[in-house]
Symmetry: C2
Subunit: 307 residues, 2 copies
């Protein structure tokens, strides 16, 4: 089943210990949609400026991604510049130019309205809620957020969390949102805010999914997927969004949404994140095959599988 | 088969968000031997002072641990005081009084010499090497070390690493030892120094074992064991030593040492670490049953197991 993804398209200027890249295609919606496109039909909602060319749009089209929801606005596309120094888990931002993204008002094309899956990328929680309300026929909504909204727009975010089924954030964000330093306790608090499941991304250590009691099956036990120990991380940008794309894309491709499916989705999230960091920008995500993906899924499985 | 463990016995004064405990039995050898005692016969080599009573020794005896190798010296036992504040992964040391531990010269009782497994706790690398040389009939030697020796006694440590089969350290130590920030690359460098396998402990994210090519079987693929998300960590002291005890104890209980056995050992390490933190000091490790351990092993297994 198709999935609608709302988020950012950006041009990134990135420095890592492996090199530099200037003004390459990026943004949460870009990584998410490319990763998800290997599992299901993806339809995106984003805004770009006049510097976004047909060539850029072809990156999406070649992966069969529906770009009708890309709004072309006057001005420049969102630009971000950052560097990963010693610690590849954390970027130092050089600059952020919101440009056309500053006044982004997501508009859902009519043709998208029959989608049963929705992913709300990291935008203002009020915009997330508005999209969710408009698409009130969806079966499952995934969402992302960040410290900026957790601290600055908490009240709005708490409203939005009531209509998000699966929230995907990192350790720091989960602890900040719950105001609780212990992760499993933080997870229980976040689940009490609305989501039926919480995916906490641990970067190079994988991810954990926590379930609200009774959601997607029986029990309250969490589940952990590993991350692949990668010898050469070229560029960590977009790893989290690619994780979300693999996770949500796999879910949207399944008939039933039970715990076993969500566990497998967690592994597929890790798989897509591991591909994303192998090259600068979206280089690797543009050229995968489903065979490569499933073969790496087996590697992930063996990474923690006991006979 | 029995295992000889060399390391420290200490009295710890610990503060955590859950409370305080003064002068309780601790030390690397204590946590290690208690954890290992649920899997195999354990014989310890350590030094204590005049403040170490029969009551303290009974903690070991009750678990069937051979205490003939405990040297009773004039003076006070090693004392450590520390606090875990917000971050339960890292202790802030209040004081360290080495006392009798300062001049510790491990002496292996003759009766211990037929042991086929050896664990060299975190002591000066030259002392570790001397013990290993004396016990030259062992089948497998595990070892620990720390930043203090990595930076301060590097040459001696590199010599010792040549005779250690499995090194168990944490992320920071592995990266420091290899002078390399990327973990899998750091692991390859450490394995080139001598060990056939390297266990890297990630605290609340579990552990990874890296194998030298051809060691314990075929392939170079690492393996990851998760850690249990624990809602109430009372006292993290000794978690790493308990991990090592579970890991080495399980190995010593097995006939064959192949990759599958080392993988299971990694899970048992995590299991024992997870018990250790549930109460202050060694409280939980003194009173476990093998049934409780195996039942938690199943929980760990399910934590990452896909159907």
């Amino acid at each position: 089943m198709s999935i609608v993804a709302v988020g950012s398209i950006a041009f990134d200027s990135i420095g890592t210990p492996s090199g530099r890249a200037e003004s390459i295609l990026g943004g949460s919606c870009t990584y998410f949609s490319l990763a998800a496109s290997y599992f299901t039909d993806v339809r995106i909602v984003a805004v770009v400026g006049e510097d976004f060319t047909t060539e850029h749009e072809d990156v999406f089209r070649k992966r069969g991604i529906d770009t009708q929801g890309i709004e072309h606005a006057k001005g420049k596309t969102f630009r971000w510049g950052g560097q990963y120094l010693e610690n590849l888990n954390e970027a130092k931002t050089d600059f952020t130019e919101l440009n056309v993204f500053e006044n982004f008002q997501p508009r859902i094309p009519k043709q998208y309205m029959d989608s049963k899956f929705l992913f709300l990328g990291n935008i203002h929680p009020t915009l997330q809620a508005a999209v969710r309300q408009e698409m009130n026929g969806v079966r499952l909504t995934g969402g992302d957020t960040m410290n900026f909204w957790i601290n600055g727009s908490r009240r709005e975010l708490l409203e939005t969390l009531k209509v998000i089924n699966v929230l995907l954030i990192n350790d720091t964000e989960a602890k900040m949102l719950a105001a609780e330093r212990n992760l499993p306790r933080a997870a229980q608090k976040v689940l009490a805010m609305g989501p039926e499941a919480l995916v906490v991304k641990h970067g190079e250590y994988g991810a954990t999914i926590f379930f609200r009691e009774g959601a997607f099956g029986i029990g309250r036990h969490p589940f952990r997927a590993p991350a692949l120990p990668i010898e050469e991380v070229k560029d960590p940008t977009g790893a989290g969004d690619s994780f979300a794309g693999g996770f949500m894309g796999y879910l949207a491709s399944q008939e039933e949404l039970n715990r076993e499916v969500l566990k497998r989705a967690l592994f597929y999230g890790g798989v897509m994140g591991s591909f994303a960091v192998e090259r600068f920008g979206t280089g690797r995500l543009q050229q995968l095959t489903r065979e490569e993906i499933d073969s790496r899924f087996q590697v992930f499985r063996e990474l923690t599988h006991l006979e």
